[in-house]
């Protein structure tokens, strides 16, 4: 059982499963590009939330085998979020059909929030590897902080477009709650005295 849980292939397979189901419905003609927009976007948001949740969750829950398991795989969840977001963009382009149509609606709040969220997710996703970590060194962590504006923009993109604020907020609520819990926890923790130079 432990071998299965720790197998990276199993984890990647699980992460790919929703995408495979979506791709199947698209290639069989059951769903068109427009139908793919919501599930790809929703899965991207879910995986982004999961990836971002792991840090504060581990801090609040304390060291445990399951938090270690999640921490080791955090980057995979984030990268999967980027892949689902990319699929979301591809289906948007297919659905719109022309650049003129896309430009015509870029000023809509529901749309530009999506473009900016995609940009922020791309920064996180494309630097989410060891090579980028080696090259960017201290800048890498700053690049990964793009996840925060990405999350806020995704929430607004979702809510403004669909008007389903309850569903969107219910998804983001655990992240908001745990991030707040981490902030409170850090503020309560006595800071270490700085050593004289």
């Amino acid at each position: 059982m432990r071998t299965i849980i720790n197998s990276k292939y199993i984890v990647w397979l699980l992460l790919a499963l929703p995408g495979a189901a979506m791709a199947l419905s698209f290639v069989t003609g059951e769903a068109d590009a427009m139908d793919m927009l919501h599930p790809t976007g929703e899965w991207s948001a879910r995986l982004m939330i999961l990836a971002m949740l792991i840090g504060p969750l581990s801090e609040v829950a304390g060291p445990a085998p399951w938090t270690r398991w999640l921490l080791v795989r955090r980057r995979w969840f984030g990268f999967s979020a980027f892949l689902y977001a990319s699929a979301h963009l591809v289906f948007y382009v297919i659905d719109m059909g022309t650049i003129e149509d896309m430009l015509a609606e870029i000023g809509e709040a529901g749309i530009w929030t999506g473009w900016l969220a995609m940009l922020a997710i791309a920064v996180c996703g494309l630097t989410s590897n060891d090579a980028a970590l080696r090259v960017m060194r201290r800048g890498w962590k700053q690049a990964q902080r793009c996840a925060y504006p990405a999350a806020v923009l995704t929430l607004f993109h979702w809510g403004l477009l669909t008007w389903h604020w309850t569903g969107a907020l219910a998804h983001f609520a655990p992240l908001i709650l745990l991030t707040l819990a981490r902030v409170v926890r850090r503020q309560r923790k006595p800071r270490k005295k700085e050593l004289p130079a």
Binding site: L160, W163, L177
Partner: protein, 103 residues
């Protein structure tokens, strides 16, 4: 303390995942029983004659929901009364372009 924080977070996550993603509650068209509805093909023909391009037209709850492009060139999601075929709500990427009086 941990449980107090983690339990509501887990509950909210579960609630979020359980929220039906495609349930559309943007408007109530008050369309009445479906057996009295006008055929959706009539709506399509009417809109095409007015200069719309239709991507998709389908019944959603008590409305006809149409995705397409208006004669003005806006890509919209729109809701029509299923009996009178009059527009009830027209949205351009979530922004209201039109809402019928009384809705």
């Amino acid at each position: 303390m941990k449980t107090m924080l983690l339990a509501p977070a887990a509950l909210m996550l579960a609630a979020g995942l359980a929220t039906p993603a495609l349930a559309d509650g943007k408007i109530e068209c008050r369309g009445g029983p479906r057996e009295n509805w006008t055929n959706v093909e009539k709506l399509k023909a009417k809109l095409i004659a007015e200069g719309w391009t239709i991507k998709k037209a389908k019944p959603t709850r008590d409305c006809y929901e149409v995705y397409g492009k208006t004669p003005e060139g806006d890509n919209v999601e729109s809701f029509f009364h299923p009996v009178s075929l009059k527009p009830v709500l027209i949205l351009k990427r979530g922004r209201e372009l039109f809402r019928a009086e009384g809705y």
